[in-house]
Symmetry: D2
Subunit: 373 residues, 4 copies
């Protein structure tokens, strides 16, 4: 693992997600640019000191030449560094699971995709929300045509941590996310807009053809964006509104969506992640839960938490890692995975996410002009 | 009452709303262009047959010359006729309560405003949602600065009756609403967008400075709009998204909003009209109900339904009429109402609504270009 | 109307409920034992001063001899007086709508039933909750066997006004409800337990065969009950728990129930009165709303509020009065109503309620021994 | 691990819960009485074949003599076997984590407690619900007196799997749970009533002084109970209702409670495990989430899932194991744990649970007579 020291939250989540299925374990790390922090966490995790590294270059170089070298690296650093770190590990022949947003430009993303392909390595992006069972079931319903042809999508990712001003210096994550030197061209669209773009594509398989965006800087007038309103047109003629915000007081990672088709609709919210509201024309709406018998077997088989109990973020996150690790195990066993079978998000998703971010910023800097993708 | 025969729903609601407070009663009507329908309903309502009229012109003319002439007329006909009917009654010296949208153009709306003013008559628009107690309390909270300066507004009005295709000929209201000859330049924006525009202004007192709109025609490609996505910029720098739709299967008059300020937020939905979600920074969110002791006295005094029981649409609608009728009683008693004291929506709101509709259509027909208001 | 001065809330609700349908109007009253209060309210209601009475006896006597005598009286006084007042009006040949609990003993209740029958008068009890459309629909579902045979009922009526101590002298209703001289043998069971007993019988048509009750006096150790836990056995072998409380902080008239059958279940709460949760075995649960097309026509025809808008307490209350008033109109037209057709609660319900209250107190005073009904 | 083959669900959950924190790993097992099943699962888990055992006796005997013997055993077999298996491992000097209900009688439970104490071993009961962060916070609130003195508790555990008749032979868990030879004297009270008893004690620290129970056999007239209504009196004078059911169609592990005190109340439901409804007198109710800043640090430090994301069953379950495993690590490091510091449920809770079950059955078989505890 690169990044993920005890000062942030996200490293801890990745580590538990890796542990959950008992198929992989963390053996080395460069958790921080401050080596003491790395040593400190390494000790807590019972890692061998010789596999605690000062920086990612050292880690990549030394691990590549070990007989027991790592099977994959998990990269949980600020956005700006994703590209260089991913590149390094791919060059050293090590599979990569990278946090989103994938890179800071679509060109970088494309370069990584090519590099991984050339070296025959797996390159995953940890879009965690696609791991929720109800999301997987929603996708099946849409695929089966249960809501008909999609007409409209309304999707939001709302949080409020940027509204807690003044925050500079109080919270490590907040500091870097709002800093263009570490975050890239966007804060809000990149951090949470990318989840929305990915999730809706995952669910509907609709491509965005054009978009019009308005981005706002409520907290720091001259800093990065903290709120974005994006109108999108899809390739099948459907329309959508994406709204992402870090200043909507009262919301905590409230990723939610409604997908409205010709025959019905599906609605979901992270706040009630175990329920799926399903409406069909002229019927009472119904609420699907993980405990329902008719959930597809391939989804049920992946349950960690029994249907009827509460599935959480760690189940979803663990599922992403489980799919990635299982693909690595197959790879090690010489089984060639068909790309379309991979149940985790790959470089293609990362590239698509970067283009989305770039186009949003482009539209917004030209008064919301519609731009094609 | 003009319009409101037994074939539609809305006339019945108006009549009950008028009854509720026992201060006015219906004495005459031209309920339908089909006189038999008027006679039929008139009989049911125990009205004297001589006051059942063949059309609105006859009603206005005859009532004006009666010693016991009506104090006001309630107009619940299709949009396209609002202007002529309102004009006629105002010319005959009769106060008017008109359904929204007020007219079919802002010029017409302005003409009516001037006519009413010249004749010293009351001209109300029945924007029913502003009558809910929790809406009235939300407005007080915002006025008192409890959520700070407003930064963002997200407001939606979602329904699904247009998704029930093919509907032509099956439902009277559906037929006229989607027909430009009866509805004017817009169906969806005019019918429900106008509620959103009015409600958010009522709550925040923020003026829309510019907007960018995309309107959709999902059901009838060459008919009127049935879905609209509108980005708005307010005069204080705040931003907003309005989304109104008649094709979102699973929603029934789901008017809902979130208003996000620098200190907190307020969220409400018609589906849970008796609850107001209030969030303030770094606190658990709270839910205000009508039963809470700290609700302002002037709001509590207007309760029909005791706090702790369920207030509904008829309470809200009845309140609008009660305020209108009370103003008429004052007028009759020679008390001059100060315009700013009127607690129902007047021609000014109607004009503002018409401008909003016109500008949305203008923007949408030019690829969502931002237009100033 | 007897009782219902401006100092309490309930009189106002009754008056609006009577107004709503425009079929009856209030013409006289003895609103208070303080005649000034009666005069005051009478003036506000535009009543003729000669029909404002010093007490109920005077009202009954004088009205009986008027050519335009009232068609019915509405009694909204404290429990202890219901019997005498109802008796007086029935003796004077006037129909009666009485607040619940009907009387202070089942014998009194039975006497009134006989008196009304003898004089061929209508005697209604204003159990308001049975007027909600979703309650009426729930009953239809159960009748049609959609949840199979009922096995278990869980019903609660929770409020918290008694928890606001010390309250004596602060609130008129609170004072008399907790005073045995005005309330009778029970406060909590009588006031809200009676609603539960009535509502569940209305829905299921199951008779309670035996019960075991524990009653509590949390606020005033030596006063009337403010909380009750009641186990009931029904005549079909089904079982139930009724819990009613006036000290559950955070609840306001939260009447709610779940009815569980062999094929499915129905759940409802006053807090979300427009929704009915319906579960059937091995299916996602669904939520029926008043806007659903398949609601029975006889229920839809009684909507005041269109499906898709919020129906409230006043719709429910108004419906009870409307059914009562319609029966009186039929009576005046010489149409004989079949008792089983009456869609309001009659003396039989009042008697059943009184027996329930008496048996609860009997069981509770003997350590919860099971008593037969 | 003893029990927990692939045919059931619960073993899988225990294994993931053990994995989650990366502090322990599964090394041996007797997962089934069918040795092939044990071999099959052992292979999947990459266990050494020599540590897959034919039965628990073999496992206990052989493990006790290995230099790398297990630190603890997890027992996830049917109730009836808990006692013998626990006894065996304790006798072999191995710490035990046992599923609830602990044993089949309070005497057995007491014997195990003494045995563990004598051998200085840790003996935990996996009451998983006490691991939810919001439950831990609720307990803190009650301890701090935020709702005042507790007056009333309403707690339910509702599920519907027994309502899916005929089920015999279709589902392994269902088969044994309803079979007295494997389940003991009770099915419903033992399986889910024990959770309620434990959770409410955990939260309130109130002891049940006496209880009156009615148990039902809706599915199998002559089988074990599937529904129970229990009135309880606590040692501080508070009262409670516990209702547990396996036939309430529409509910899945819906453990929920309301705790009502003199100053406020706390309500929680497994279905919305990340939210805690908190009401205080004369205030709007508020909803506490894990993301709130004021949650106690010791609770936040144990978060696996960051505040603002969805915590699930596996977080709760993992937390119980983490506390147990941490105590074992301390034990191995020679640190003596103070019993009151243990943050998992010990034999005392198991004994208390067994007494509760026995007293419920005793009361129910004597027509609900109140029995002292």
């Amino acid at each position: 693992m690169v990044g993920g020291s005890k000062k942030g939250q996200i490293g801890k989540v990745h580590r538990k997600a890796i542990n959950l299925h008992g198929k992989a374990k963390i053996v080395c790390g460069a958790f921080s640019r401050n080596f003491n922090d790395t040593l400190d966490l390494g000790k807590e995790l019972n890692l061998s000191e010789e596999r605690l590294y000062k920086n990612y270059e050292e880690m990549a170089e030394q691990e590549r030449s070990r007989p027991d070298k790592i099977d994959f690296v998990s990269i949980v650093t600020p956005n700006k560094t994703h590209y260089e770190i991913s590149k390094k590990f791919l060059q050293c022949g090590i599979n990569v699971m990278c946090e989103k947003p994938f890179t800071c430009s679509s060109q970088e993303a494309e370069k990584l995709r090519i590099l991984a392909e050339k070296n025959d390595l797996l390159l995953g992006i940890s879009y965690s929300f696609t791991g929720y069972s109800m999301i997987r079931y929603a996708r099946e319903m849409i695929r089966r045509g249960e809501i008909g042809e999609v007409r409209f999508v309304n999707a939001q990712y709302l949080c409020d941590w940027m509204a807690k001003v003044p925050f500079r210096g109080k919270n490590k994550q907040q500091d870097w996310r709002s800093d263009p030197k570490l975050s890239g061209i966007s804060n809000c669209v990149a951090d949470i807009g990318s989840h929305v773009e990915n999730l809706i594509y995952y669910l509907t398989e609709l491509r965005i053809e054009s978009l019009s965006a308005r981005i706002d800087h409520f907290i720091e007038q001259d800093g990065l964006d903290d709120n974005a309103s994006i109108l999108v047109n899809y390739n099948n003629g459907a329309r959508g509104i994406y709204w992402t915000s870090q200043v909507t007081i009262g919301h905590e990672n409230n990723l939610n969506f409604g997908i409205y088709g010709t025959k019905g609709s599906i609605e979901w919210s992270r706040e009630n992640a175990n329920f799926l509201k399903v409406s069909t024309i002229e019927q009472p709406f119904s609420v699907v839960t993980r405990g329902n018998d008719h959930i597809d077997d391939y989804i049920k088989q992946d349950y960690v938490t029994p249907g009827g109990h509460t599935e959480g973020y760690i189940d979803a996150f663990g599922r992403i890692y489980d799919k990635f690790i299982s693909a690595i195990i197959q790879q090690k066993n010489g089984v060639q995975s068909n790309k379309s079978d991979l149940e985790f998000k790959t470089a293609e998703s990362g590239i698509s996410g970067m283009i989305f971010i770039e186009k949003c910023i482009e539209s917004a800097t030209h008064e919301g002009v519609w731009v094609n993708i």
